[in-house]
Symmetry: C2
Subunit: 276 residues, 2 copies
């Protein structure tokens, strides 16, 4: 193993965690003392990162929260902070990019050179040639949207052609595209039986799982359907349910407690307690 | 008519043009004198805009070219420049966004509030609920990817379920979603017969057509398949074939000539010469 797959595998093992902390700082929801600072998103993230790193296998900043208010510099600082202080923890930039080849190369540059992310999320709708510029960064990871966690995700993803749903065809293609061993898939926790179907198609491929927490996914069902034989393979993301579990000045401590609780819950249900 | 539909209709008529100028300034391809300046993307765009505005119905900046190098401020200045100097010409921000509702609201904020775009491109893969936050901006336009211009666009878009391709199902849904009359579709010039199939489904809905120019789409076939009864309905984008038609210090004049030529070619083949 090498590159992103290796970094992720080391993190799963060292941290004994499958929990990914989503860094989606919504300016309007930050504690007032933080909101009034000069770099509120970064300051909020910094405290969250320090409070939760012990329980995390990865961090996943969602770029929209920064781009909406012109705070790209705070996203850069956030990722730099993680690389400096927690260099073993991978950073997945959640951007869901997808465009024709010449443009996709620019998006790959955005994610991997500008922001120095270890992995990025991408959208498969436009087809394989639009994803190749991401795959070509062989030390980086690329999580392709497969079955998403939102209520309307079935609108097109559950379109059936012959025996296979669209999301299954995406998973099948991902297997073919994965010649560099740097591809993963996004599969929402809100459809755990679908995670099982995807797992059957893609073997040990890493799955990024949104939808636990505010979106209501069931952690036991996710683990039952998605774990690999070695009890890894999943990057289970929680954002809002950790970030805003407090709300006052002690938000970070409360978030740390919540992350600990979720991480231990995952360990327990995954039968990983013995390796603590 | 109101909002984006109205702005576009007025522009088609006033400008007697269906040509959209794509503002995809690749730093590496800019003339040296421009590249060495403080705001090279903006300075390049400013000259291109002034040289081509007479022949354009819209401008379409592709955000990846700015985001790759941390030049969001130059994108803001570019759009502000268009609104100030050519207030009747709509700006379509090409971003191909798509994410769960809470995140989609942030992306809509990015496109419509931060950048003040008149319209944005979005990706339908995640389903209708992820696009609603864009549609809710009723004075703004939303172009949904339907059939894209790239070679691999058929990988999933041509998946057939029953009688219908995926891209046709996207077009059918778009018609249902269009309760505010602010939706358009993206249909690549490289598949003109597909433009005809989409036109049959969506009536007079505006179609954004990439793929003319470097990608090799045939303008006559696009017009034959895509024009509405009033000889409008299309926003035909050309980026690189105009931007880099020169290459020296006179790049803007050369680009202006090229835009004029393409615009007049479209007028001729569309049978719009009489209204010049």
């Amino acid at each position: 193993m090498k590159g992103f797959y290796k970094k992720l595998a080391v993190s799963w093992k060292n941290q004994n965690s499958l929990l990914c902390i989503g860094l989606d700082p919504d300016l309007e929801r930050l504690p007032e003392t933080i909101r009034k600072g000069k770099a509120p998103l970064f300051e909020f993230n910094r405290e969250i990162i320090d409070a939760t790193a012990l329980w995390a296998c990865a961090f996943k900043p969602q770029i929209a929260y920064y781009a909406a208010i012109g705070a790209e510099a705070q996203l850069e600082k956030t990722i730099e902070y993680i690389h400096t202080h927690y260099p073993l923890l991978p950073v997945v930039l959640d951007a869901k990019r997808g465009d024709i080849g010449s443009t996709a190369r620019k998006y790959a540059q955005e994610a991997f050179q500008r922001y120095q992310a270890d992995a990025v999320t991408v959208n498969p709708y436009m087809g394989g040639d639009t994803l190749q510029p991401f795959f070509e960064h062989e030390d980086k990871g690329v999580f392709i949207l497969c079955r998403t966690s939102n209520p309307g995700s079935g609108d097109f993803q559950e379109m059936k052609s012959g025996q296979h749903f669209l999301y299954e065809q995406v998973a099948q293609r991902a297997m073919k595209w994965n010649v560099r061993n740097n591809i993963g898939l996004v599969a929402g926790a809100t459809f755990p039986e679908v995670i099982g179907r995807i797992r059957k198609i893609v073997g040990d491929m890493p799955l990024l799982i949104p939808g636990i927490g505010k979106q209501g996914g069931d952690i036991r069902e996710v683990l039952r359907n998605g774990l690999n034989a070695d009890k890894t393979g999943l990057v289970i993301n929680v954002s809002r349910a950790i970030l805003y579990s407090g709300g006052g000045r002690d938000f970070a401590a409360v978030a740390g407690d919540r992350a600990r609780e979720i991480c231990l819950g995952i360990r327990e249900h995954a039968g990983r307690l013995e390796s603590v």
